[in-house]
Subunit: 322 residues, 2 copies
Amino acid sequence: MGGSSAATVAELGEFGLIEHFKALAGQTDAVLLGPGDDAAVVAAHDGRVAISADVLVEGVHFKGEWAAPEDIGHRAAAATLADLAAMGATATALVVSLIGPAGMSAQWALSLAQGLSEEAALVGASVVGGDLSRGRQVVIAVSGIGDLAGRPPVTRSGARPGDVAALAGRQGWAAAGLAVLSRGFRSPRAIVEAYRRPLPPYAAGPAAALAGATAMIDVSDGLLADAGHVADASGVTIDFDPAALPVPAELEAAAAAFNVDPLTWVLAGGDDHALLATFPPGTALPEGFAAVGRVEERGAGQAGVLVGGQRYTGDTGHEHFR
Amino acid sequence: MGGSSAATVAELGEFGLIEHFKALAGQTDAVLLGPGDDAAVVAAHDGRVAISADVLVEGVHFKGEWAAPEDIGHRAAAATLADLAAMGATATALVVSLIGPAGMSAQWALSLAQGLSEEAALVGASVVGGDLSRGRQVVIAVSGIGDLAGRPPVTRSGARPGDVAALAGRQGWAAAGLAVLSRGFRSPRAIVEAYRRPLPPYAAGPAAALAGATAMIDVSDGLLADAGHVADASGVTIDFDPAALPVPAELEAAAAAFNVDPLTWVLAGGDDHALLATFPPGTALPEGFAAVGRVEERGAGQAGVLVGGQRYTGDTGHEHFR
């Protein structure tokens, strides 16, 4: 990289930066034409692609002082990779648009790109292109495509009364990490790291599809909020069993220190990218999933989501425009 | 839409806005699963997709006072659709992330979405998903996928000495329109409209591929700058024939009024999304293309782009980070 480490993106220039990005991004066999042209070309083996988009905005989804650029890259990629996993797909490629001030350091941008590439590589996907622009605020817009391997996509609308609701991945950790950082702390480290770099259970998505999942969603807005999306799309009620949603000891400890209810993190926290899926009764749950509730018929006027048969009255998630 | 026309996006909420977007976006047969889930699913008939991304930033790529939201939507979609056309592909689907202040009017956002959908519909593509977030500045990040219909992609690297360089679409109009608007004028209308809403020659992309184009690029940064990308990727020199680059009368008139050289708009203006392609000598150029120069061997130290055998010494394009 030579002298680029001290340079700003403006000094290095759009095309200089793109050359560095190209060198960073390893390309898999699915990439038939990699970065550097007007478009990349990616294999779509079964004649379809799943496609999704997510955006991370500085000050809304991340703060530069709370996370290193590599971590922000990991998080930005994770959001889209988890969306694809939630359809039962395996991501094959990402395209990334990066907007930021002209004075942004080239090293920062390249570290971000490194994080994006590393997270994509976890599922065998490549960063195959993107765009760069200056702007007042750092914005990272990621789109991705994925391979359904011949299976139908697992939508939000297929949950049926009697199905088991099951969760894969950590839930509540990122919200706890955000709470820790918001109060000016940098530890416990495991919790802060969970906020900085989620660990979505990517393999559980295709595994759930193979096991016959009737519905699935990436838990990015909060467990209750995202369960509500499944419930509304499927016309059912999902009743969580509070005993099946144990609060990890690490979260209990942090919550006690801050005098908050850690169950709120588990029920309403976003950004861990757990997968919530429903399975026909009697299904042997795939590795990584644990039963957390049951799908029921939804009576007139009944809530889409219950906890232990009751409406939950706390915070149920966030919308990014509010 | 009821009362939403006076509402802000914050009042309508992310999910309310998404419901409106879904209603706006017509879906084609290629869309196997439309907006509203974690990802959409789109047909990729030949087992591959071309994929590209572009971003428009308020104050960098557009000013709200110079263009209606529909126009901005058309321009945002056009950038990605033209990238796909430049590979010889026909776009099938777009995903769009919209970032803006919480006080942005919902009607503005929906008009933008309308423009995006209308421009996509010109090539038979659909807006199949996206993301929404608040942010200080309006940012529109568009990614798109396209169908190569079994053909190899037309890259930037295949131009060979002896090839004919040919251009399809208008070139210089958007730069002239920007110059008019920048000086506080709102006419001539045809020029201002060209800036607000480009008319990329989408069909010329696949037609060029069918005709055997050896290289192709979407002219978004300027004719000389983008020709330079082809020349560098192909290891050749492209020599433009100035007599083959006539300046339209409308641009002559506007340039005379401002005392500028209109050839600068033609050679260095961006954002019209013309297509520059190279064809083997003797190729019957597809409809819409006109020969504008010749591809030559590139001697050591020789420039990649010449105009009438000479280096052009004016402005040759812009980089968005500078």
